[in-house]
Structures are given as structure tokens and as C-alpha cells.
């Protein structure tokens, strides 16, 4: 098994997870190469979010291998350890620190020592301040930096969360429905931003919006009932009869 995982960034094989007998993830296998960007689509309840929960340590699989960089067994680690390995995550429902300012949200996410004593005595360095400025500019939130995150619009919260993700400087980004609740223009800009990010980091994006997935222009994995139904270019999978059936048969 580990032979096959060699040279991969993320390697899932034969993963199963049942909730009270209901198989949310069913013999799921997925391989991501370093530097790759992958789009994951699938109907509601297909198990996309559960897959991310398993990768990030929120949910422990019943069986199966989940390996990072070919050898690190993610099923043995907790959320904080996995995050510090360099796997960042954006939730389906945008989750930012509502009673902190936009700026402080980024500051908390910045790659830095995570221990309690390190943060107690932490003083923001000039490099950190510059990095915050840069990230605020990237996510177009510069003029909102002193605003409480609670006051941002839905789309702005999504962007802030992406900004926080970038601030962690992860090697792998898991992005769950980044375009949900965005206008068409915002959606298009989000696709541009993710493509930009994918130049330097590996990214897994879950999305329902087909225009968005087309804009990304990457390999697509179709999940259905917790397992991989098809994999390939968007055109290839959308002409796959099994996929058509799943999407139309709903």
C-alpha cells in the first residue's frame, strides 16, 4: 500500500465511514499529486464534506488508509497536528471569528508558533504586518480591516476565510464550496484567486457551481454515495452516463 502512496501528496485508499449504520463514505479512494488542483463534485449527501472531515482529523474513518506525503498516517493525528503539518481547510459554512476584526482574523491564522506561551508573549513583527497587508489586498478586504468580521457579507466572509487559509501557508488547501452565496462576478473572481493559489500549493475544491468548476479547468472527481463515480476532465465526466444518471435522477 505504501508503495502506491509514494510520491503522492494525499492518498486515500479503501476508506469507509458509517454513521449509525449509514455508509457516508464507502470504499473511497483518491490520490492527489503534489502541486495538483482537483475539483470534487457530487450531489448533496455524496460525502464530500465527510471526506474533508476525515482528512483533517475531525472524523476518524472506520477502515482505510489516509496518508499525507506518502507516509504520514492522518488517521492517528488530531485536528491541530494535521493543521500544523500543512493542511488547511475552509468550511462549507463560512466560519470566521465574528467578534474579531478582519485584520485579527488574519493575524490569528498567520503561520507562527501555536503554543500558549508563544502567543501570550507574541508581538507582531514587521514581516507579519506586511504579510497581513498583502493578504488583505489579495482578498480585497483592505478597507474593511478594522471592521468586525460579523459585519461582512456572506461572500466577504468566504474571502476572509480563504485569506486565513492562505495565512497558514499550508501545502494542501481543502476548500469546501467557496462560491456558495456569491454573486456571479464574485464567483468568477474566486476561481481566478484559486487558480492563482494553485500555482504554488495543492488544492482540493468542492463545488456545486458548474461554471465555477469549468473556470478552474482542472481534473474533476465525481463522488456519489460515498464513493468515486467518475474521474477526468469536466467534459469527460459530464458525458459519462453514470454521472448523467446520478445528476438527472435526483
Amino acid at each position: 500500500m505504501t508503495d502506491k502512496a509514494e510520491g503522492t501528496l494525499l492518498y486515500l485508499d479503501g476508506v469507509n465511514k458509517a454513521f449509525d449504520g449509514f455508509k457516508a463514505i464507502n470504499n473511497l479512494s483518491l490520490v492527489l499529486a503534489p502541486g495538483e488542483m482537483r475539483a470534487i463534485i457530487g450531489p448533496n449527501g455524496a460525502g464530500k464534506t465527510t471526506m474533508m472531515d476525515i482528512i483533517t482529523g475531525k472524523t476518524k474513518p472506520d477502515t482505510g488508509d489516509v496518508l499525507f506525503e506518502g507516509s504520514t498516517d492522518l488517521t492517528r493525528l488530531d485536528e491541530a497536528k494535521i493543521a500544523n503539518l500543512g493542511i488547511g481547510r475552509k468550511f462549507q459554512k463560512p466560519t470566521v471569528f465574528e467578534s474579531h476584526t478582519v485584520e485579527d482574523n488574519i493575524v490569528l491564522a498567520l503561520k507562527a508558533k501555536r503554543g500558549a506561551f508563544a502567543t501570550l508573549f507574541h508581538q507582531t513583527t514587521r514581516a507579519e504586518a506586511a504579510r497581513v497587508d498583502e493578504l488583505l489586498a489579495t482578498t480585497r478586504l483592505t478597507d474593511k480591516r478594522k471592521m468586525l468580521a460579523a459585519r461582512l457579507s456572506h461572500g466577504q466572509k468566504q474571502w476572509l476565510e480563504i485569506g486565513m487559509l492562505l495565512a497558514q501557508e499550508p501545502r494542501l488547501l481543502l476548500v469546501d464550496e467557496p462560491a456558495a452565496g456569491m454573486t456571479d462576478a464574485e464567483t468568477a473572481e474566486t476561481a481566478i484567486l484559486l487558480r492563482e493559489i494553485a500555482k504554488t500549493q495543492s488544492v482540493v475544491v468542492v463545488e456545486h457551481d458548474m461554471t465555477f468548476v469549468r473556470d478552474l479547468g482542472v481534473k474533476v472527481t465525481v463522488l456519489h454515495e460515498g464513493t468515486v463515480l467518475a474521474e477526468g476532465s469536466l467534459d469527460a465526466v459530464s458525458s459519462n452516463p453514470k454521472v448523467v444518471e446520478v445528476y438527472l435522477g435526483r
Binding site: K58, D78, T95, F97, S99, H100, L108, A116, L120, R151
Partner: protein, 378 residues
């Protein structure tokens, strides 16, 4: 590093609060000791002691706010830490009595002689020395909080379940301290104190000094709490309060953060208890009563959760109210307290201080930023 941290805490608000507290610590004792009794500004000793008691409560409320207001841990067991600190001080005061007790035993406190004990139990050793007792005032509540928190936070007990087990903790201690064979004076607790560091606990000067010390400790801990909540660690704590899983997925080990602030808060509560006991002259198991912890939470809610100033204001106003109310309608105090809690929850969800802050912020700048106070809708 540490200076940066301290400077951080010394913002305008902290400066004002600390200055006011220092002024109170100096002026009240002066008005008590230096003005003749018929002077209109003379503060009688009973009032000094009463206020000293309220300021000890204010310190307890500050401790509760640190965990509840800033980290979302609703402790319904903080009076346990307060009482443990109080007992540690009480044990010192007991051992100072010496031969002046009813049974005049040089070593054993009266209640032990009464129980026919021949030797001092090991856990009473060292309490004849003030420094040792002072250490225990913070170490015992700190250690118990640490062990409790270690298990609770590691197994991710949160919300209502955590609140319930904190109640269970204080209730278990209540039952334990009630037992005579525990060696803490059982039902009657520890009382009849004579002197502290050689000064008569009943003397006006001692009482004025204890008052001043209580207020100064409150100022010190306010300053520490201010520095902590303004640090990056403080921001992580608020993050834990608002979105715990987000904090985890950013790579913070949430249980360690909770454990840190929880243990520190318990130590603060212990100091509050230790300052309280010599002023009221007694410590008994009723201090562990679950209702006491709930009252402390109400002070914080009334004053304003997550504001640090709020708990001080809340503890003092509610307790003045209590003293007045129990004078007029003693049976109805608990109903009044319950009603107060409901009124505050419905009409002043941010508490007194939180509401005032929001009002000022709105007047100054409509797009008001940055108050760490939680949104009421929790």
C-alpha cells in the same frame, strides 16, 4: 518579551480602572482611620469590611469573566476555588490562635481537640507559616483546577455538560468539607480567628489594611487580565469561544489554551477567597454551595460579560442590592436575584458595562469596530 506583554495590557482603560482602584484603596482606609467619627466623610469600620467583602467578590467575578466572557467556559463551580483559597487562609488563621483557644492546645485547633484527635493531620503541616499558606492559596485551587481541566478539556466536554460537572465538583467538595473526619472543622468550618501576621484581625487598622489589600489585588489582577486578553493568546481564547473548531483547524491546541486560562482563573478565585476570610471572620462548607457559584455568574452577566470592568461593577452593585434587600425582605432575595437575571438577559444582554460601551461606540463612530464582548445571541 514580558515588558511588551505588560505594556500591551496597560491601555487607557486599564490605566483608568487601576487608578480608580488605587484611589479607593487609599481613600477609604484614610476616611476610616484619619477622620473623626462625627465627620460627614467618615467611613465606619463595618462599612470598610462590608466593602472589602464586595471587592473580594469582585475579584471572584473577574476570575469568572476571564473563563466565561473570554473563553466561553461557563463555570458554575468557581466558588469551589474561592472556598479552597479561603480554607487555606483559614487554616493559617486557625494555627495563629495557639493557646488562646478554648482548649488552649498550642498546636491543635479547638475542633480537633473536641474530636479527641491527638496529632495534627499531615495536611495541616506548614500552615503556621504565612508564606506557606499564601502559596497554598493559589496552589491548591490551581492544582485541582488543572487536574479537572486536564480531563474535561482533553475529552472535549463543553457547554452545558461542562457547566454541570463544575457544579458537581463544588457539590462534591461541599459534602466532603461537611464531614468532621476530613479535618477542616466540618459543619462549623474555621472561625474565632485572633490575628494575622501578628495583627489583631478585629482591629480597625487591620481591617482597613485588609480592605486596601483586597482592592490592590483586584487592581493587580485586573491589569494581568487586561494584558492577557489583549495579547494574541487572548484573541485565541475569544476565537475558541466563538468558533472552537475553526481554532483547532488553524492548528491551535484548544485544550491547552482552555487549561491555561482555567487554572489561572481558579488561582485568582483562590486569592479572592483568601482575602475574604479574614474580613468576614469565618470559612465554612456553605461557601461551596452550588448557588454561590451561580450568583457569581449572575454578577458577571449583570455587569457585562467579556468586559473585565463589568464583573467588578456587577459584583459590587448586586451585592449592595443584596445587603439592602435582605434587610428589607429577606425571604425574597433569591426571587429578586432570579428576576434580575431574567431582566438582564432579556433587556441588557451585554450587561451594564457592555451596554454603556456599545452606546459610546455608536455615538462616536457608527461603524464601530472592536469590542471583544460576545454577541448576545448565544
Amino acid at each position: 518579551m514580558i515588558t511588551g506583554f505588560l505594556l500591551n495590557g496597560f491601555d487607557t482603560r486599564a490605566r483608568i480602572v487601576v487608578a480608580i482602584l488605587i484611589a479607593i484603596a487609599l481613600l477609604v482606609p484614610a476616611a476610616n482611620l484619619m477622620l473623626p467619627p462625627d465627620h460627614p466623610l467618615h467611613v465606619p469600620t463595618y462599612l470598610v469590611t462590608l466593602m472589602g467583602k464586595y471587592f473580594a467578590y469582585a475579584l471572584l467575578a473577574l476570575a469568572v469573566d476571564l473563563v466565561w466572557g473570554y473563553c466561553g467556559i461557563l463555570s458554575l463551580g468557581h466558588s469551589a476555588f474561592f472556598a479552597l483559597g479561603g480554607y487555606a487562609m483559614g487554616m493559617y488563621l486557625m494555627r495563629q490562635i495557639g493557646t488562646r483557644g478554648v482548649y488552649a492546645d498550642p498546636i491543635l485547633p479547638d475542633f480537633m481537640v473536641f474530636l479527641n484527635w491527638k496529632e495534627l493531620p499531615w495536611f495541616w503541616y506548614g500552615f503556621d507559616m504565612f508564606w506557606f499558606a499564601a502559596l497554598m492559596v493559589v496552589l491548591v485551587p490551581g492544582a485541582i483546577a488543572f487536574v479537572f481541566g486536564w480531563f474535561a478539556f482533553r475529552s472535549r466536554v463543553t457547554g452545558v455538560y461542562l457547566s454541570i460537572i463544575t457544579q458537581a465538583l463544588t457539590y462534591a467538595l461541599l459534602l466532603a468539607f461537611f464531614r468532621n473526619d476530613m479535618g477542616f472543622g466540618g459543619n462549623n468550618g474555621l472561625t474565632d480567628f485572633k490575628d494575622i501576621l501578628g495583627y489583631n484581625v478585629q482591629a480597625d487598622t487591620t481591617r482597613a489594611t485588609l480592605f486596601a489589600l483586597t482592592v490592590l489585588f483586584l487592581a493587580l489582577f485586573f491589569f494581568i487580565a487586561s494584558a492577557i486578553t489583549r495579547s494574541k493568546l487572548g484573541k485565541v481564547l475569544v476565537g475558541v469561544r466563538d468558533a472552537e473548531s475553526r481554532t483547532r483547524f488553524l492548528g491551535y491546541r484548544v485544550e491547552n489554551y482552555k487549561l491555561f486560562v482555567w487554572t489561572l482563573s481558579a488561582m485568582m478565585a483562590g486569592v479572592a477567597g483568601a482575602l475574604y476570610v479574614p474580613q468576614v471572620g469565618i470559612i465554612n462548607p456553605s461557601e461551596f454551595a452550588p448557588a454561590n457559584s451561580i450568583e457569581a455568574v449572575i454578577w458577571v452577566a449583570v455587569g457585562g460579560r467579556g468586559t473585565l470592568v463589568g464583573p467588578i461593577v456587577g459584583a459590587i452593585t448586586v451585592n449592595f442590592g443584596k445587603t439592602w434587600f435582605t434587610g428589607v425582605l429577606p425571604e425574597f432575595w433569591l426571587f429578586a436575584l432570579g428576576a434580575l437575571f431574567i431582566v438582564v438577559t432579556l433587556f441588557l444582554p451585554k450587561g451594564i458595562v457592555g451596554t454603556v460601551q456599545a452606546f459610546w461606540a455608536n455615538r462616536r463612530r457608527p461603524a464601530a469596530p472592536a469590542s471583544l464582548a460576545p454577541e448576545p445571541a448565544e
